[in-house]
Symmetry: C2
Subunit: 265 residues, 2 copies
């Protein structure tokens, strides 16, 4: 099967292929136009603090769906889907340490587990590309560069930590367009949190991202920083919950709602 075939699949077809075990690779490019989401699964007694953390820090924590305890179906964004089988790869965590990277989590599922699906930057990147704003790391086939900043999230219970941001170099003339285009998606990270001098947000060496790959910034370009979905996962893992499941990086959940549904309406 070629890339174009994956791109033209419906979300349901993509999830069935993944569920069958025949596809265990990263999801970017699959079911083009549909939302891909980060997964965090927590025991109910940790879910409250995570929910409040997301409410207090909506830019880095764009919550799209929360499942009922024990129920693996994300009814809001993908009726009929199963969070235990429909992602190509997972990470299973105990006390902040990854103990397994399975392709399904049937054997780990429990009646007290709550699934959280959080929006990711793929949604606003599609909008940027549609608006002819170039995205360097996509052009170069690299992962987006991400940085830990000196912007502190508002804590909730056991959860606290700095905001992590992703950076895209944008030509000066396109910065307002990039702000307005992503600002139309307040439910999925929204507009940038910083534009320009990286030192202002505590990033001392733009060439050395904390996560992902570095990309060059050309002379007529400005580094533009958006809140990143790594933020809640980093805050969570730092607090070492006894048990958690997340997606493996790049192996996202493919939802049945279109990216364009998250534009302001």
């Amino acid at each position: 099967m070629k890339g174009a075939d994956f791109a033209l699949m419906s979300p349901g077809e993509a999830r069935r292929l993944i569920r069958s075990g025949e596809y265990a690779s990263p999801t970017p490019g699959m079911a083009r136009g549909y939302v891909q989401a980060n997964l965090v699964v927590l025991p109910k007694d940790w879910a409250y603090d995570f929910l409040v953390f997301a409410q207090r820090n909506p830019k880095p924590c764009p919550l799209l769906d929360v499942t009922e305890p024990g129920d693996p179906e994300p009814k809001l964004i993908a009726p009929g889907a199963d969070l235990r089988t429909d992602l190509p790869k997972y990470k299973v965590w105990e006390h902040g340490r990854c103990i397994d990277e399975p392709t399904d989590v049937m054997k780990y599922w429990r009646d007290d587990l709550v699934g959280f699906l959080l929006g990711c930057s793929f949604t606003f990147e599609s909008a940027l590309l549609d608006a002819d704003v170039p995205i360097r790391h996509i052009e170069m086939g690299r992962n987006v560069p991400m940085y830990v900043t000196n912007i502190q999230c508002i804590p909730s219970g056991a959860l606290s930590g700095p905001m992590v941001v992703s950076m895209r170099p944008i030509p000066y003339s396109l910065v307002p367009k990039a702000v307005l285009t992503t600002g139309r998606f307040p439910a999925v990270h929204g507009s940038p949190v910083h534009i320009g001098d990286p030192k202002v947000i505590g990033v001392s060496d733009i060439g050395k991202p904390d996560f992902g790959d570095s990309v060059p910034i050309h002379e007529e370009e400005v580094p533009v920083f958006w809140a990143c979905g790594v933020t809640p996962q980093a805050a969570l893992m730092a607090s070492k919950p006894p048990f958690a499941i997340t997606h493996a990086p790049g192996h996202m959940f493919i939802a049945s709602v279109k990216d364009s549904n998250y534009a302001i309406f």
Copy 2:
């Protein structure tokens, strides 16, 4: 003191006046330009379902702040304020029945109580008036008409119920402006949920609102319906939590953030 004095007060001054016990009247018109919020206080073991209900139904449940259990200070939207004393009138509920309407709730406060502050339509009404969209019930000095619809909210645990909407008659030529103006405030009810024939959303007699006062709709006008903050309170009260505190109608919490801060950015 005259109305103009109340309008020009800072939020802190307004809260201090209310806290002192010298002011126990409705808050509309006070500290003009600043957010007024609905209050719901619940025991921690009911807070989770309420949070998830708000996440699943963001248009009727625009959550602006959630306090730490036992802490009466809404740190996000009004640092230094005290939810136990800073509203002019409260309702105290036991098993869905109102047992008291005090002017402070010091004697009812407990270590397990969580405060939820929810946006109200005053915020987008200011924006409509600034955009020269007339608002009939304000012109007439009446309460906004509200209706129970056939639109079901997405349930969460014990909480479920129909969406309640508020209605404003808008001249045909101003409907797009009213949609775009309120759409800029996705965090505070956002754009309308329905425009036109009330029967489509299960409202059989527009002249008989379920809450508030009726207002006339003139020939060149359309009834426009917005999700209403009464929705979560109605869902909550129907499920009869053992204990709850809310604001008394019209006696809102005055926050330290400006209405304009909730426009998309």
